[in-house]
């Protein structure tokens, strides 16, 4: 793979409701922010990928809302309907095909939709949808499958929420910086057994943008380039009943391919920090198992023992993760941006000292059906 880098990025602050910003406003803000970060102008950008979803936006051809705000006028522009990590993957492929720089933008306003209604639309219209299943209740099924398989306790899962909300206190973009205890999580309102309120992400509004460029644009960009070392995605079966929800096989496969591309043999030793997409607290340990950080069922011990804490052997979600702000689709791109900030050494109060190699993970579909893994490095 020829050398490519992330040379600019920007996020909005994530909030419960941005009532002074329509989609185009948010996207314009992050487009301008990413260009400023990179020290480039819109004329340096020759390709645009927007990320949006017609269900979440309540609008057919949702990409149309942000065409001019993303600088897509008279450029090769397209729309990925999926998590931001997949949009970034398309942006990368365009650069590898000969474009010099792609800007990838994602937007979401949870405040203008209904999560139960829109995510119910992911499920089979004949056999499942009328049961009322949605992103939250399906995740509760996955949490139960995972926890009962390995005897994981609600306390162990709650430790992830305590850690990530605590980390969010260092992230100026986060929506829910909280100082909470395991007891607080356990006592919070039951949402869908075994998930309590503090095991679940908030509803968020926000946008994010990154610029992926070839080597020559990276050389002239102002920001320190974040080199793309490995990336892969993979999708597993659709019907929940056909899947082993406690075994993230698509993530394992995506990680295997991304590690091979990046030349990583032992991720726990070779990766300095990870940003994973965990709108529900149980997802972080389950995804870490899929990423090969520990054996099956051992993920829940990592947060309890401080392995994934700031200062631990492998800090996970220094940003506070999706538990602290979950603008859907944007959230995966935010993971990639946070991982990139870490290897640039510009993560501020949430910086992991000396981070050189970072991993970002995003997913699309029910219970992490389709998974995408990125490895980035500050070293060429």
């Amino acid at each position: 793979m020829q050398k490519t880098a992330i040379v600019g990025m920007a996020q909005t602050r994530y909030e419960r409701r941005k009532k002074d910003r329509i989609f185009a406003d948010m996207v314009f803000d992050v487009t301008r922010g990413a260009l400023e970060d990179a020290g480039l102008t819109i004329d340096d950008i020759d390709s645009v990928v927007t990320v949006s979803n017609d269900f979440y936006d309540g609008r057919t051809i949702s990409g149309m809302a942000v065409g001019d705000a993303s600088g897509g006028q008279d450029k090769n522009i397209s729309t990925v309907s999926g998590d931001g990590t997949f949009g970034a993957f398309y942006g990368l492929m365009r650069v590898l095909s000969g474009y010099q720089a792609t800007i990838v933008v994602a937007h979401y306003k949870g405040s203008e939709g209904s999560v139960p209604v829109t995510t119910n639309g992911m499920f089979d219209p004949i056999f499942q949808r009328h049961l009322g299943i949605d992103a939250i209740s399906s995740s509760a099924l996955q949490a139960s499958a995972y926890m009962s398989r390995y005897g994981i306790t609600e306390e162990e899962i709650a430790a992830v929420s305590v850690k990530n909300h605590g980390n969010a206190r260092n992230n100026p973009y986060a929506q829910l910086p909280l100082s909470i205890t395991v007891e607080d999580v356990l006592r919070s309102r039951k949402i869908a057994d075994p998930l309590k309120l503090l095991d679940c992400c908030p509803v968020s509004d926000g946008a994010a943008a990154i610029i992926i460029a070839n080597e020559s644009v990276a050389a002239k960009a102002k920001a320190k380039p974040v080199w793309i070392k490995g990336v892969a995605h993979c999708c597993e079966d659709y019907l929940l009943g056909d899947r082993d929800l406690a075994d993230p096989v698509a993530l394992k496969e995506a990680a295997k391919r991304a590690y091979a591309m990046a030349g990583i043999a032992n991720p726990l030793e070779e990766i300095d920090v990870m940003e994973v997409l965990e709108p529900f607290s149980y997802m972080e340990p389950l995804w870490l198992e899929g990423l090969g950080i520990c054996g099956a069922g051992a993920g829940a011990k990592l947060a309890v023992r401080g392995v994934t804490a700031m200062g631990g052997k492998l800090p996970v979600n220094p940003s506070g993760g999706a538990l602290s702000a979950n603008p859907v689709l944007v959230a995966g791109l935010a993971r990639l941006i946070e991982a990139s900030l870490q290897v640039r050494g510009e993560a501020g109060a949430r910086q992991v000292p000396g981070a050189e190699t970072a991993l970002a993970q995003g997913y699309h579909g029910p219970c992490g059906q389709s998974q995408c893994v990125w490895i980035v490095s500050g070293k060429q």
């Binding site: 051809i61 309907s81 999926g82 398309y90 990368l92 095909s97 639309g121 219209p125």
Partner: protein, 386 residues
């Protein structure tokens, strides 16, 4: 510059206004199986999949994950790309970059729509901005009716000139076993059909169809082993110029997005005289006036000359530059698949697999996509490797 890429196999379903015999997943599988058979491979040899539709036409969120059993994406990378009417071309172009990038060698591109499962106009009406555009240019027909009226006013074109485009495409559809509307229409029939929005009559506009299309793309080196006649990508151009319908309505300028996309595509392909160098075109013409005005924007003839150019039979089968041997969008319109069908039909022509609808000795074939807010995509396929 990326790697060279060719289409090595295509597949499509038969099309009807309602396919109650299949779910959308089964319909997708019908097209995928046909494309894999045409390429002489199995799903195991596919490295990645790109799929697209318009969510609200089936009311299924995240069709990339929903359709795994039909697309064959189980334990493979799959990505969903969606841009309205241009979706199919956008999917083909995304699949092209998948291969050109060097990350994948054999990629499956899929477009589908099961329009019978929705209220098409109810769904499409929400594409316009809720505050500024929805009360005026909503749905597919009003902006097209305005464009047609402006064209008639500017060049003195008659409704019969447009109806000839409809007669041509519906006649061509008689040669295509997959087409939805295989019943010829004469100019007089179109003129006598019910008025929808002046000057667009029922016979001037596309139907809504159920259907799916799939193409197999392969990299240089692999493509030649899979088929003797790969259809090589010479150009892929995208111009989604407008965001607001209110900005796209200076119809005296022509279809600016198509002019720019076509120029970009010709420059990529090294084409200086399109009418001489392109042998066949599969154009996304959702209504008959597009077959006049837009072929001027593509550069097949000068401004205002299309009624004469089409009237002389240049775009009919056997003419100088046959347009839509398949019968085009006026005969078949499964929206998310429609622009991919244009690319697939162009590939079929280059590969010489057109049967009764084959144009002899095709070297360069041009396909377009149209949709969104007067957006245009252009793909040029060729028997010559660029």
């Amino acid at each position: 510059m990326g790697r060279r890429v060719a289409i090595v196999g295509t597949g499509q379903t038969y099309h009807k206004s309602h396919r109650p015999d299949v779910t959308s997943k089964e319909m997708i599988k019908e097209a995928v199986d046909a494309a894999l058979l045409d390429a002489g491979i199995t799903i195991r040899e596919i490295d990645a999949i790109v799929i697209g539709n318009m969510d609200h036409f089936e009311s299924i969120n995240a069709v990339d994950t929903y359709s795994v059993e039909g697309s064959g994406a189980y334990m493979k990378p799959v990505m969903k790309v969606s841009t309205g009417g241009t979706t199919g071309a956008t999917v083909a172009i995304a699949a092209y970059y998948h291969v050109a990038s060097g990350l994948f060698d054999r990629v499956l591109a899929i477009g589908f729509e099961k329009n019978s499962e929705s209220d098409t106009t109810g769904a499409i009406i929400t594409c316009s901005d809720a505050i500024w555009d929805r009360f005026s240019y909503s749905g597919a027909i009003p902006s097209l009716a305005t464009e047609a009226t402006a064209y008639m006013e500017q060049y003195g074109a008659r409704q019969e000139d447009a109806a000839l485009v409809g007669e041509r495409d519906r006649n061509h559809a008689m040669n295509n076993p997959y087409a939805h509307l295989r019943r010829p229409l004469k100019v007089a029939d179109i003129m006598a059909s019910p008025m929808l929005a002046y000057p667009i009559k029922l016979g001037d506009i596309c139907p809504r169809s159920d259907g799916a299309c799939a193409c197999v793309l392969a990299v240089d080196g692999t493509a030649q082993k899979m088929t003797k006649t790969p259809a090589w990508f010479k150009a892929a151009a995208v111009r989604h110029t407008y965001t607001w319908f209110g900005d796209s309505t200076d119809y005296t300028k022509g279809l600016v997005s198509m002019q720019r996309a076509a120029q970009d595509a010709y420059s990529q392909a090294g084409i200086t005289n399109p009418v001489e160098e392109i042998d066949v075109a599969e154009l996304y013409l959702p209504y008959t006036w597009a077959g006049l005005k837009w072929i001027e924007d593509i550069g097949f003839c000068g401004r205002g000359e299309a009624p004469k150019f089409v009237g002389e039979g240049n775009t009919h089968m056997g003419g100088k530059l046959p347009v839509n041997p398949s019968g085009g969008v006026i005969s078949t319109n499964c929206i998310g698949a429609t622009a991919l069908l244009r690319v697939a039909e162009a590939a079929i022509q280059v590969m010489g697999k057109g049967g009764q609808r084959q144009v002899p000795d095709v070297r360069n074939a041009l396909a377009t996509g149209f949709g969104g807010c007067f957006w245009s995509d252009v793909v040029i396929l060729s028997s010559e490797k660029p």
